[in-house]
Symmetry: C2
DNA sequence: GAAAAAAAACTTGCCAGACAAGCGGACAAG
DNA sequence: CTTGTCCGCTTGTCTGGCAAGTTTTTTTTC
């Protein structure tokens, strides 16, 4: 199944994976435009030069300009109107946060992500305890029971674990918590799953883990914000400690 | 100063602002490709069809395909190698987190952002207390003193406030905390500044605020993690309360 | 027959030119 | 002073093409 020419594990380990290509023209132009905007050469609200003007200015074709500007547009830094031009955002700042995970195999990078994840989920648990509706609580309880069922059947239950946590985050009714937690969680789990097949040892369900979950649920049910935070933090730190065992080989 | 033809407040309030344009071909194609990838029609690690193939498949020109694919590339969802093709990321997930702030003037949106900001900065303060080097502490102390100087001179000192907080975040030595905190902080401050000129009343320096800063510094200096978190949380909640006074008109 | 070298076939990166759709200001008519 | 028309400019999209890089096939050579 291994394709010829594909970089194998040895290559990646030696840092010869997807080798660093010289940045493309689009890359350089987009970066330069972004720098010019940040430096104030193109003030917020003003119009960017016309595409053809930029072609002459930067000595590239219109396609290149369009792709570079399209990138900024995608980041919410500029907005274009057909016939009128492309305008710098009023804020002068990109509307989207770019969290680039440069190296997925770097242990320190994973630690940093996990640290942020813990901060977000712990705070979310506290807010969930204070704001959860009766309906939220019912959903969380159902997820908790689904997990218990998985445990009793000796199933891995990774999905049940994920949805349980998700239901808590959603009880914050703060979409930013949901989105960020989703993003981080998916990546951490993906890392663990791809790094080692039998991830159950690290993220899998045990009765001990379930006990931590029950503690979180109890605190949320009783509206105990600090308690929910503490319980969530304890649970996540334990999970991080298991992960650490693996990271250290 | 009001420009003719600009939609005034009544229009915007009635939802008659800049009307929604039909999404461009590039928008639709990029979204469709992203959906196809997420649905598994293009599995992770596999190669995307050649550009000309997609031209025929989606009935668009190559420029359009290139721009759409370039967008996915920008999000880290695909990576292309000249001569070889464009490949779906191994993770099958975008490498960047998109935090879209849909409506900058929505009070609830700002509250949600502030909530996340508090969670991040409080956790960062705790980590900073545990991990700060002697050099970090020296920088933080300098920033704190710079702020005292600003207060004594009756200056607004908004920048000094910002850099003080930044120096704490940087002491976590976790770039994700730095980047995210930066992003959120800039936007919250921008919102306040543009919403009202005399923002000093809400974010400005007073001796009371400075007292809170000193408490954070003391906890970080003594390596007291929970204390630093509590002090930071108290400080930020107070700031949020001042902000709330404004949001409620 | 097998390994090495050369050629061919694709594929992306970039470019030039073109046309339609939409915007903005000028300008004349009422 | 308003209204309608026109014209230049700008973006959105298309077509066609060349250079550079990669993969596959063929040919050559030992």
């Amino acid at each position: 199944m291994a394709k010829a020419g594909m970089p194998d594990d040895r290559d990646v380990a030696a840092g010869r994976g997807p080798l660093d290509r010289p940045p493309s023209l689009v890359d350089k132009l987009a970066q330069r435009l972004q720098a010019d905007i940040r430096a104030g050469r193109y003030p917020p609200g003003s119009r960017l030069p016309a595409e053809q003007t930029m072609c002459a200015l930067y000595r590239v074709s219109r396609a290149t300009v369009r792709e570079a500007v399209g990138r900024l547009k995608h980041d919410g830094l500029v907005a274009s109107r057909q016939g009128a031009g492309a305008f710098i955002a009023e804020s002068g700042l990109p509307a989207v946060f770019r969290l680039d995970i440069a190296d997925f195999s770097d242990a320190q990078e994973i630690r940093n992500i996990v640290e942020l994840l813990i901060a977000v989920e712990a705070a979310a648990s506290e807010h969930a305890a204070r704001r959860r509706t009766a309906g939220d609580l019912e959903i969380i309880r159902a997820r908790l029971e689904a997990m218990q069922t998985a445990i009793d059947r000796n199933e891995p239950g990774v999905d049940e674990d994920l949805t349980f946590h998700r239901s808590i985050i959603e009880a914050t009714h703060n979409p930013f918590f949901c989105d960020l937690s989703d993003f981080l969680d998916q990546r951490v789990r993906r890392f663990i799953r791809t790094a080692r097949a039998n991830s159950a040892r690290f993220l899998g369900l045990t009765q001990a883990v379930q006990g931590e979950h029950q503690a979180i649920f109890a605190a949320i049910a009783s509206g105990d914000g600090p308690g929910a935070r503490a319980a969530a933090e304890r649970h996540l730190l334990n999970a991080a400690a298991r992960l650490e065992l693996y990271l250290e080989r």
